[in-house]
C-alpha cells in the first residue's frame, strides 16, 4: 500500500518523460497513487490511458517517499490487459523473442525484406512505427555459439535478446573481455528475460519465461557462478521483477547474485592492482544513462571505468529518457512520443560535439543513433578498445590479444 505515502508533491510528474509530450497521459501521480484509491473496489478496469506509460521507472526513482509509482501503474496495465482485448502489436511484441529467433534464422533475407519501402508500409499498417528502423538480425547469433571459455572466476552470462539476435558481436566482446580478465565464462541456455511480455500486458507469458530462466540460472548460482547481464532492462527484470511481480522460483537468489557487467568489471579492475589493463583512448563520448540503469540503483559503474581511461572525455547525461523504451516506441500509437523524446534527448548529445553516443541499453542505442546520427556504442565497446590499446595487454600476448577482439562468429 505504498500509495498511502503519496503527498501529491508532483516530483514524479516533474520526472516523467511521457507526460510532457503526451497530453493524453495523465502523468504518473494521477495514474498511480491518485487512481489507486479508486481501483480498490475490485471492479473491471476502465483506465485505458495507462497504456501511455512507458515504464521507464523514473517516477519511482524520483519519489522521495517510497511510493512504488511505476509498479502501481504496471499492475494497472496488467489488469487492464487481462480484462480487455489487447491490440495486435501488444501480442506481437510480447512474443518478441520468437519473432527475433525467426528473423535471425532467416537473417539475410529478413534484413533485406525489412529494408524495402513496401515492407515498411506493411509494418506500419500492422501498427509499427516508421522510425527508427528495426534492428538487423544476425544468423550467427549467440545461441549458436554458446561455448564456454576461459579459466578462473565463474561467470554465467545472460546476454539478452538484443545482443543475441542483433548484436552478437558485442556479446562476444564481453565474453572475450571477461576471459582476458581471468574469468571462466559460460553462456547458459536462456530465453527472453520476460520484460517485453510484461510490458505488453501478458503476465502469464512473462512468468513462463521467468520460470525457465530462473531454473537454469539458479542451478549455475548453486555451482558458484555469478550471473552477469549487459542489457540494463534484462538486469532490472532479473533483479527486481523475478523476485517480485514475476514470482520466479529462486528469484531472490538470482537478484542477490546478478551483476551488471560494468559493475563486475569495475570490481575486477579495483581488485587487480598490479596490471593496468586499460590503455589510452582518445575519444569524446556522450554517455547516455538508460532509465533502467538508474532504476537499478547501482550508480553508473561504466562511468567509473571511463574515468580510468586516459584520453577519454566522457560526459554523463542522465536527465532524459531516449523515448524508445524497449518495444514502446516501436508501436505506432507511441510514435509521436518516441519521436519528441528522441529529439529532446539528442539535443545535449549534439551540443557536446561527441564522437559517439554510449548507452548500456540496446533500445537507447537504436534510438539515439538514429536521432543524433552518431555511432552508438555499448560501454563495453569503449572498454574493449581501451583494453586493446593497453601496453600491458599488448606486451602480454602480442597479436593474440588483437585477434581476441576482432569480430568472430563464435
Amino acid at each position: 500500500m505504498t500509495f498511502e505515502h503519496c503527498v501529491r508533491c508532483t516530483i514524479c510528474v516533474e520526472n516523467c518523460p511521457v507526460y510532457k509530450v503526451e497530453p493524453r497521459f495523465p502523468g504518473p501521480k494521477q495514474s498511480g497513487p491518485d487512481a489507486q484509491r479508486f481501483r480498490l473496489d475490485g471492479e473491471k478496469s476502465v483506465d485505458q490511458w495507462v497504456k501511455y506509460c512507458s515504464q521507464c521507472r523514473r517516477c519511482q526513482i524520483a519519489c522521495p517517499y517510497g511510493v512504488d509509482v511505476a509498479e502501481i501503474i504496471l499492475k494497472a496495465q496488467l489488469k487492464y490487459g487481462t480484462e480487455h482485448i489487447s491490440p495486435f502489436t501488444a501480442h506481437l511484441f510480447a512474443n518478441a523473442y520468437h519473432l527475433n529467433a525467426l528473423g535471425s534464422t532467416f537473417a539475410p533475407l529478413a534484413n533485406k525484406a525489412a529494408s524495402f519501402k513496401a515492407a515498411k508500409a506493411v509494418l506500419n499498417l500492422l501498427g509499427i512505427s516508421r522510425e527508427p528502423d528495426l534492428p538487423e538480425f544476425r544468423f550467427f547469433n549467440m545461441e549458436r555459439g554458446r561455448r564456454r571459455k576461459g579459466k578462473g572466476r565463474k561467470v554465467a552470462f545472460f546476454y539478452g535478446c538484443h545482443l543475441n539476435f542483433n548484436r552478437p558481436d558485442i556479446g562476444w566482446k564481453i565474453r572475450d573481455m571477461l576471459v582476458a580478465m581471468g574469468c571462466r565464462v559460460v553462456m547458459p541456455r536462456q530465453t527472453c528475460c520476460g520484460l517485453p511480455a510484461l510490458g505488453n500486458g501478458d503476465l502469464d507469458m512473462a512468468k513462463k519465461y521467468a520460470q525457465k530462466n530462473a531454473s537454469v540460472l539458479t542451478s549455475f548460482i548453486n555451482k558458484g557462478f555469478d550471473v552477469l547481464y549487459a542489457c540494463t532492462s534484462c538486469g532490472l527484470t532479473l533483479i527486481q521483477d523475478y523476485p517480485g511481480i514475476l514470482e520466479a522460483p529462486g528469484g531472490k537468489k538470482i537478484a542477490e547474485n546478478t551483476y551488471n557487467v560494468n559493475e563486475f568489471l569495475l570490481s575486477l579492475l579495483q581488485d587487480d592492482k598490479e596490471n593496468r589493463p586499460l590503455g589510452r583512448l582518445e575519444k569524446r563520448i556522450a554517455y547516455h544513462i538508460p532509465c533502467h540503469l538508474r532504476a537499478l540503483g547501482i550508480g553508473y559503474p561504466a562511468a567509473k571505468i571511463f574515468e580510468q581511461i586516459e584520453g577519454l572525455e566522457c560526459f554523463v547525461l542522465d536527465d532524459n529518457c531516449c523515448g524508445l523504451a524497449g518495444t514502446y516506441g516501436f508501436k505506432k500509437r507511441n510514435q509521436d512520443v518516441a519521436h519528441k523524446l528522441g529529439e529532446i534527448a539528442s539535443i545535449p548529445i549534439r551540443a557536446l560535439n561527441a564522437d559517439a553516443v554510449v548507452a548500456d541499453c540496446g533500445a537507447c542505442r537504436i534510438q539515439l543513433g538514429h536521432y543524433t546520427g552518431l555511432s552508438a556504442m555499448d560501454p563495453v565497446e569503449i572498454i574493449a578498445e581501451a583494453m586493446a590499446n593497453s601496453i600491458d595487454n599488448k606486451k602480454k600476448s602480442g597479436h593474440g590479444i588483437k585477434r581476441l577482439f576482432q569480430k568472430t562468429p563464435y
Binding site: 503527498v7 508533491c9 508532483t10 516530483i11 510528474v13 516533474e14 520526472n15 507526460y19 510532457k20 509530450v21 497530453p23 502523468g27 519511482q60 526513482i61 524520483a62 519519489c63 522521495p64 517517499y65 517510497g66 532490472l236 533483479i239 527486481q240 523476485p243 531472490k252 537478484a255 542477490e256 547474485n257 546478478t258 551483476y259 559493475e263 570490481s267 538508474r294 532504476a295 537499478l296 540503483g297 547501482i298 550508480g299 553508473y300 567509473k304 574515468e307 554523463v316 542522465d318 536527465d319 519528441k340 529532446i344 539535443i347 545535449p348
Partner: protein
C-alpha cells in the same frame, strides 16, 4: 554485496546535501551522494531565501532565537555560502542574481510579493514591477495559474492568454524548447501592442536553457520579461536541482539514486558504512565521514508517530517540541508552528549533540530550531549549513 569506498558519503540530495557534496568533490574528495528520491527543492520557487525579516538579511540575525542554526554558521559563513552558490550557478544554464546584503521581492502567482535574496536570472526583472506596467501572460488550459489573482490585486496590470496547444506547465516548457516556438510567441506579444512596461508569465521557459529563451523573447519584444514561480510541479525548482546535481557529477561525484538506506554499520563512535536496499542485493557504501542532509518531514528525514518524532536513517534522538497536541497552533497562518522546531541538535562542529559519533555531520532543514517558515530562511540555511558542515568534515578527513 557490492562495496564501494568513498571519502565522504552525503545522505540526502537536496540543496544542503548538494552544496556539501559539490564543495567536497571540488576539493578532490571521493564523494558519494545518496538520495532516496528527488529533493523537496524541486518544488520550491527556486529562489534562495536567506532571512526575510529585515531589508539586509544579515541584519535579521538579531531577531533569531539564540539556538537557531544560523548562529553556528555566522554571518560570514552565510555570505561565503551564497557567494559559492552564485559561482556554481554562473557556470550552469541558470545563473542567479541578487546580493547577500539586500533582500528583494518577487511577484507570486496570487499577486503578493515574496521577500527573498538570490533569484534565478529569469526572475530578475520581477524587481521593481510594482512601479511599472506589467502584462501577465498565461496559457489556455493551464490549471495552476490564474492571472486574475494578480491583476485584481495590483493596479497597472493587464493580461492575455496564449494558446500553446498544451496545458500543463511541463508540456508548455517542452514546447518552449522547440525550435521557433519562442519566436512565434514573441511575435504574438508584439502584436498585442502593449503599453511600455514588463511582461510576466508563469515559469515555463523551458527546463534546460531558460535564460537563452527568455533573452530571445526579451530582445524580440524589446522589453523585460520575468517568470513567476508556480505551484508544484515547479520548473524553477527542477532547474535548480538539476544544475546543482550536474555540477556535482561534473566534479566526478557518484550519485546513488532512488534507494533508501536499509542499514547502518557503526563501530564504536565511527560510522563505517551504510547499505542501500538496492533491489534485493544490497549495495554497501563505505565512507570515512558521513553527512546527513535528509531534510524535515516532507522529505522524510524526520518522521512523526502519534506521540514522537524520529530521525529516519541513523535513529539520532530528535528534539521534539512537546506532545502532539502542542505541535500546531490553532491558526494555520501563525508564523511558525512549534513543530518547525523539531530536528537534530548539533554542536559547533555540526555533530549531533545527543550522540558520541565522531564522523557524522548534520546540515540543512533537519537541524533543530531552523523554523524555516517562520523566518523564511529555507534554502539559505541549507546552503550555509551545508557548506559549513562540509568544511568541518574536510578538517576531519585531513
Amino acid at each position: 554485496m557490492s562495496t564501494l569506498m568513498h571519502d565522504v558519503v552525503v545522505i540526502g540530495g537536496g540543496i544542503s546535501g548538494l552544496m556539501a557534496s559539490i564543495y567536497l568533490a571540488g576539493k578532490g574528495y571521493k564523494t558519494a551522494l545518496i538520495s532516496r528520491g528527488d529533493p523537496v527543492c524541486c518544488l520550491s520557487t527556486g529562489c534562495i531565501d536567506v532571512l526575510s525579516t529585515a531589508l539586509n538579511p544579515l541584519d535579521g540575525f538579531g531577531d533569531l532565537s539564540e539556538m537557531h542554526p544560523y548562529h553556528l554558521v555566522g554571518k560570514k559563513g552565510v555570505e561565503e555560502a551564497c557567494k559559492l552558490f552564485k559561482e556554481i550557478m554562473s557556470k550552469s544554464p541558470i545563473p542567479y542574481v541578487g546580493s547577500i546584503r539586500k533582500n528583494r521581492e518577487i511577484l507570486t502567482p496570487i499577486g503578493t510579493f515574496k521577500t527573498t535574496c538570490l533569484v534565478p536570472q529569469t526572475m530578475a526583472a520581477s524587481l521593481g514591477c510594482r512601479d511599472e506596467y506589467v502584462h501577465v501572460i498565461s496559457f489556455t488550459g493551464i490549471k495552476d495559474f490564474y492571472p486574475s489573482y494578480i491583476t485584481s490585486r495590483l493596479s497597472n496590470t493587464g493580461f492575455s492568454l496564449y494558446d500553446a496547444g498544451v496545458s500543463s506547465t511541463l508540456a508548455i516548457a517542452a514546447r518552449f524548447e522547440e525550435k521557433g516556438f519562442a519566436a512565434d510567441f514573441a511575435t504574438w506579444i508584439t502584436g498585442l501592442e502593449l503599453p511600455p512596461g514588463k511582461v510576466a508569465l508563469p515559469a515555463v521557459l523551458g527546463v534546460n536553457n531558460p535564460v537563452a529563451i527568455m533573452e530571445e523573447i526579451s530582445s524580440r519584444i524589446n522589453r523585460e520579461v520575468f517568470e513567476i514561480p508556480t505551484l508544484p510541479p515547479s520548473i524553477p525548482g527542477l532547474r535548480l536541482f538539476r544544475a546543482l546535481k550536474a555540477a556535482f557529477q561534473d566534479l566526478g561525484g557518484d550519485v546513488f539514486w532512488g534507494m533508501p538506506i536499509s542499514s547502518v554499520e557503526r563501530h564504536g563512535h565511527i560510522i563505517e558504512a551504510v547499505t542501500l536496499a538496492t533491489s534485493a542485493r544490497a549495495t554497501r557504501v563505505q565512507g570515512k565521514a558521513f553527512i546527513l542532509a535528509t531534510g524535515s518531514f516532507v522529505s522524510g528525514g524526520l518522521f512523526a508517530t502519534r506521540d514522537s518524532v524520529y530521525e529516519t536513517v541513523f535513529g539520532i534522538p530528535v528534539h521534539v517540541p512537546g506532545a502532539r497536541k502542542d505541535w500546531f497552533w490553532n491558526d494555520f497562518f501563525t508564523a511558525g508552528h512549534p513543530i518547525e522546531e523539531a530536528g537534530i541538535e548539533v554542536d559547533s562542529s555540526f555533530r549531533p549533540k545527543q550522540t558520541t559519533l565522531e564522523n557524522l555531520f548534520v546540515c540543512g532543514s533537519i537541524l533543530a530550531r531552523s523554523e524555516v517558515m517562520k523566518n523564511h530562511c529555507g534554502h539559505g540555511l541549507a546552503l550555509a549549513t551545508g557548506l559549513k558542515a562540509a568544511k568541518v568534515c574536510e578538517r576531519k578527513l585531513t
